[in-house]
């Protein structure tokens, strides 16, 4: 069991409105499906807990922002894959 695997990815915020309340909620909800993995998201050196909606909102990720995702723990790979897919398709679904 790869308990302590660390998986990272860079993503781009494609939504024209950036990350707002509704898609922040969607991201946090997606991340919550992997309860045994931690998620940190950073932008320009500012790092937040990706499982906290308040944290994600304080990223102030506007359209075109580059984010770095870093997950650690069980199913970290699946967590990152899920989020990368969300960012690919635009997070505001």
């Amino acid at each position: 069991m790869a308990t302590h695997q660390v998986v990272e990815a860079d993503v781009l915020v494609k939504d024209r409105e950036g990350i707002h309340l509704r898609n922040a909620a969607a991201l946090v909800r997606a991340a919550a499906q992997f309860p045994k993995a931690d998620l940190m998201i950073s932008k320009d050196g500012h790092q937040v807990n990706g499982k906290s909606i308040m944290g994600v909102l304080t990223l102030v990720a506007e359209h075109g922002a580059q984010l770095h995702l870093k997950a650690r723990g069980e199913e970290a790979d699946k967590l990152i894959a899920t989020l990368v897919a969300m960012f690919e398709n635009g997070t505001d679904q």
Binding site: H20, S52, I53, M54, L57, T58, V60, H63
Partner: protein
């Protein structure tokens, strides 16, 4: 001045001013703001928790720490429950998008980091939990505000503030009602009222508004006037000075609020209300008479309205139709754009309710102070000089097409006209007309009925539009002057900035010359010119506009009887002279003085509302 004596009805009325009113010393406190909507209301206060919530910062004894934390957890759970209920209700009544907002609110409430930080703050600082929660979320808000641009953030921060306010109210033991579930008839006191607050408001339960912010042309004022309820705006500190459940008198004539009046003052208010009701009855009598000057010039009096729920009620009033049907509410009251069918249903209702009378639908005028979550996501330094009204419509031709098709379809059911807001060039008008042509073509292909010769007018709101009035008039069926915007663009004054609001002067000779030029350009092309701005409902403004040759005045329903009375008391020949002199005046003050003198010569008492 010569006075004609053929007026069949005495234009004099019971006065607006109360016989006696001595608020000082007869209530807990007198607050002074800006008169937003005339009238006087008395009732219990409903405090609408907006963005700013008062919170005390006090130490708690060590042994109370755990119970303080338990109180917090219970408050969170209770608010989550309320949000769930709101979510169910929103999904049922409005749609899933609206429900999602509450879902996000629940996530904010259940945010583990925020809860942990608050609890830690209570343990470490031994401060009350309301204060700790307040500062925890304030850190989040400050981070967001400090990092991003204002426009981007405003909408995001609002939700955090909303959630925080709900929790703080719960901790204080106050019941966090929304304006949508007002149970008693109330005076609504709020820091500010947003269009979405008021869109969800139970209108029959509100007898008056008091807001900390805003001016006479802010959203709350316009809405209050259209509902015919008194309002005091720009009343700084009102929402923290007045407590829920206190009794308050809203004096919408002077812009004062009397909190907790004693028996003496209550009696004076009751008498005043009687006097105003008498006056209203007299005005109603006058409203059955035609709106024409003593020397026979007919001035059309039309309504400015904006809500579907207003249509039925206002259609029963004596008016010449609707001069301005605002459509922004359709676009701002939900997270989803209104569909063609939804819009068509409202416009058709409007057309049918007014029968043969013309109804003028203005295409959406979002922007400026009416920002939309979906469109205004990038910051604008100068929203009033930015992406608004026709500029948005032309940039979003599909969205615009949906609205145009809905209006066209409604034109088959009554006397529908349409106008474009914020036109500042001929190209814009051409483009809008081209998209209109495409919308007609699409309907024609489907065999959908519409009125092919529906009159299409242009709003004159920018000095640019006035300067090219001759060119616009060739392509327009009518002009409608929006005085609020025209004044702010001509005088470069933000009407809601309290430091310069004084400079917002409708009688400034520059403004009068612009209006005069627009009227001339319209009449030269033989098209009618109408005014649908605030100036039309101010008695002295209406008097002057008639003198300037305006054909129709459009205003909030509550102002019609008073303006009808003014028009029936004047002669066109004389106000034309007054207007001519006004164009050559050196200051707005001089114009105002001359207008007051003219009104007095006509024997018209002009109330404090001007």
């Amino acid at each position: 001045m010569h006075k004609a004596s053929d007026s069949p009805v005495d234009p004099r009325l019971p006065p607006i001013e109360p016989a006696t009113l001595t608020p000082h010393g007869h209530c807990r406190i007198v607050l002074t703001g800006i008169a937003g909507s005339p009238g006087v209301a008395y009732g219990p206060v409903y405090l609408h928790a907006g963005a700013d919530v008062w919170v005390d910062n006090r130490p708690i004894p060590s042994e109370a720490v755990e119970s303080e934390i338990a109180r917090f957890i219970a408050a969170l759970a209770a608010v989550v429950e309320e949000k769930r209920e709101l979510k169910r209700r929103a999904e049922r009544e409005i749609g899933t998008a609206q429900g999602q907002i509450f879902e996000s609110h629940i996530m904010l409430l259940e945010d583990a980091d925020a809860i942990a930080q608050t609890v830690e703050c209570v343990r470490a600082s031994k401060k009350n939990v309301a204060y700790c929660y307040f500062v925890t979320l304030q850190r989040v808000i400050d981070t967001i505000v400090g990092t991003g641009s204002y426009e981007y953030l405003r909408d995001r921060v609002v939700d955090i503030e909303d959630v925080r306010a709900a929790v703080l109210m719960k901790l204080r033991g106050a019941e966090p009602q929304g304006l949508d579930k007002l149970e008693d008839v109330s005076v609504v006191v709020a820091h500010s009222l947003t269009p979405s607050d008021t869109a969800r408001m139970e209108a029959s339960k509100v007898v008056g508004f008091v807001t900390d912010r805003g001016g006479p042309t802010s959203h709350a004022s316009i809405l209050a006037r259209s509902m015919g309820i008194p309002a005091v705006v720009g009343c700084q500190g009102a929402s923290v000075t007045i407590s829920p459940g206190e009794m308050a008198v809203v004096n919408g004539f002077t812009g004062e609020v009397y909190v907790e009046p004693d028996e003496v003052l209550r009696e004076q208010i009751a008498q005043w209300k009687q006097q105003l009701e008498q006056r209203a009855r007299r005005l109603l009598e006058i409203s059955r008479l035609p709106s024409q000057t003593r020397d026979g010039r007919r001035i059309r009096l039309e309504l400015n309205i904006e809500l579907d729920s207003e249509i039925q009620r206002t259609a029963e009033l004596a008016s010449d139709g609707v001069g301005l049907f605002r459509t922004e509410f359709l676009f701002l009251s939900s997270d989803e754009w209104p569909t063609e069918e939804e819009q068509y249903a409202v416009y058709r209702h409007l057309a049918e309710a007014f029968g043969g009378r013309p109804v003028t639908i203005r295409t959406m005028d979002i922007g400026g102070d009416k920002l939309c979550r979906k469109l205004h996501v990038t910051p604008e330094m100068n929203p009033f000089l930015g992406w608004r009204a026709i500029r948005i419509s032309l940039a979003q031709p599909e969205l615009f097409g949906v609205q145009l098709r809905a209006i066209l379809r409604a034109s088959a059911h009554g006397n529908v006209q349409m106008m474009f807001p914020m036109i500042s060039s001929v190209e814009e008008l051409d483009q809008a007309l081209m998209i209109l042509g495409q919308a007609k073509e699409a309907l024609r292909r489907n065999g959908t009925p519409f009125n092919d010769s529906m009159p299409v007018g242009v709003m004159i709101e920018t000095p640019a539009a006035v300067m090219i009035g001759d060119a616009l008039a060739k392509k327009a069926a009518f002009f409608s002057i929006g005085t609020n915007d025209l004044i702010q663009y001509a005088l470069a004054v933000d009407r809601d900035n309290q430091r310069v609001a004084k400079l917002f002067d409708m009688f400034h000779p520059a403004v009068l010359r612009l209006i005069h030029a627009a009227v001339k350009a319209g009449h030269l092309a033989r098209i009618p010119v109408e005014v649908c701005g605030e100036m039309a409902h101010v008695p002295l403004g209406a008097l002057l506009l008639v003198g300037l040759g305006v054909d129709a005045l459009s205003m909030a329903p509550g102002s019609i009887p008073e303006i009808r009375r003014i028009i029936r008391g004047i002669t066109f020949a004389e106000v034309k002279e007054v207007a001519r002199a006004a164009l050559d005046s050196v200051s707005g003050e001089e114009v105002r003085r001359n207008l007051e003198r003219a009104a007095a010569d006509f024997g018209l008492d002009i109330g404090v509302e001007s």
